[in-house]
Amino acid sequence: MDGPSPSWTLTSELHTESYRRRLLVLLSSATFFEGYDSFVLSFVLALVLGDLGGTEAQAGWIRAVTGLGAVVAFVLSAQADRIGRKRLLLITITGYTVAGALTALSPGLLWLTVAQFTAQVFLGAEWAVAITIVVEEFPREARGKALGIVTSMQTLGGILVGILAFVGLQSTPLGWRAFFVVGLIPLVLIAIGRRSMLETERYEAVRADPASEALNHANLREPWRPEYRSSVLAVGLVTFTRFAVVASASFWWAYFAQQEVGMSVSLSGLYLAAAGLVGAGGFVVAGRLMDRFGRKPVFIGYMVGTLVFGTWLFQIHDPGLMLPVLCIAIFFGLGSVAITSAFSTEPFPTYVRSRAAAWCRNAFEVPGGILGPLVVGLLGDHVSGPIGSIGDAMSLTIVALLPVTIFVAWRYVPETRDADLTHLDELAIAETGA
């Protein structure tokens, strides 16, 4: 292997298999509640408006302002390269739990908006640091599987909100506030994590090496250095277009089913929960397949599946056919995030990995998730939209965007199945001349 003489050891395997299993449980739990907290506000918004008083227009503003929190999260999530993965993970879990508690105490819409904006800042940062930890702590042949498990938890966390609503949590004396009280459970994770979680081996090794002093661990623009910028832009374009489609479909499907297909609220809720559970298998399958066949071919396969079944889904007007197609579309559409998580972390050396993941997630993916639903809404608005149908606007958006995702992934995103992260770190240090 080319590179400097390995006087320092980045390849030590001090963290045992049983530690990794416990770490996987901790990260999965954190991501599960991240999914729960990300979804809960939109689910209870109508109840909030009824209780605190507010209009649909104000609801739109609340959504827009809180959504910006996930963009601002970029600055926080990038700090993992400076202060360490473990510390930032615990800070983000504490942050979103406290913000959730403040939401439960909201006396009015302004308080609620500020609390949820704050929650989104921490939630947005938690994701990037969690996948960075997975990539750094798991051996090459198990990274995909671990990413699949951790990312699938986000969807399952969202489904918990639906299940709690189904069993009538909103009918308890606390009303909609009860959903945010449930969000306090991650405080237990902080207690466990503080005691038993270790800093990632790779991060510790890089920071302990005197040669790494020459690397820039703090500059937010470091991922845009000539060596990395092509990968950042390619992965950014892929995550932007993919998430614009996936977020739009997630946001608009219930509306489409209820207003354009004529399904009841309860039936569409039941479909979403069932399809979400089946579709969550897409994450785990993606994780296993990408370890076996590589990241790019599996991702392209998933995107072709999303293109076909996503486009079809929004053209269906028969509730009987809707369920199986919804399951398959969720399987491919949401499941592909396990692979984009690998794209946004594995091509980069440890000293800059978290910032690169933050760029890909918070500067590309999250804006895609804001812009996509907005464009579909404008095009498909039943009163003034040029297309006038959410179903058609959604299908056309999928047809317009996903070929770009597939093309950029095929042509420009590096394959990292066999990436040796240790070698990447060695190269990064060698390039400093230290």
Binding site: V261, G262, S266, H382, V383, G388, S389
Partner: protein, 172 residues
């Protein structure tokens, strides 16, 4: 860079005509019903007088959000009216509340975009669930435009990537 900017301008030129505004009376009826479904948090008065709202969801001002489990609106049809100079639009709708009570009717939408009255269900105006047409359907041209936008975005992406890769080579 100039090539990328030119591609962006072409994309804008293609997309701008798609932003032409229309005012669909079916959408007005749908917004009215959706607002009505917000119960005491809703503002159905923006679309219809209170007495009309009361016919669909009695005592809506005292109800919690989510009383309607299903809202369906079909494609409307223009009709001459003795009340207005210009034709009104008849829009079929159906709502089912959480107690499974169904209300089917036709909303008379005035030229100003407000619901002027309600009428009984008209067999000539079937809802999508009973085989009627959807409010809008994308034309074949729109599908071709979407494919064209995909091609254009691929070119823009390739241009951007080429630009970044060239700069990376020149700076390294």
């Amino acid at each position: 860079m100039r090539r990328v900017a030119a591609l962006g301008l072409v994309a804008l030129a293609v997309m701008l005509p798609a932003c032409a505004n229309t005012e669909r009376p079916e959408g007005v009826v749908e917004r009215w019903l959706t607002s009505l479904n917000q119960g005491k948090a809703g503002e159905p008065g923006r679309y219809a007088p209170d007495d009309i709202s009361e016919q669909v969801l009695p005592n809506w001002r005292t109800l919690d959000p989510g009383q309607l489990d299903l809202i369906e609106v079909g494609r409307g049809e223009q009709h001459d009216s003795t009340l207005f100079d210009t034709p009104i639009v008849l829009v079929p709708f159906r709502v089912v509340d959480v107690d499974d009570v169904t209300v089917v009717g036709t909303a008379l939408v005035s030229p100003g975009g407000r619901i002027a009255d309600l009428d009984e269900s008209d067999p000539q105006l079937p809802l999508p669930s009973t085989g009627g047409p959807r409010i809008e359907s994308a034309t074949a041209t729109l599908w071709l435009v979407a494919i064209g936008v995909a091609g254009l975005l691929i070119l823009v992406s390739a241009g951007l990537m080429a630009l970044v890769q060239r700069r990376s080579v020149s700076t390294s």
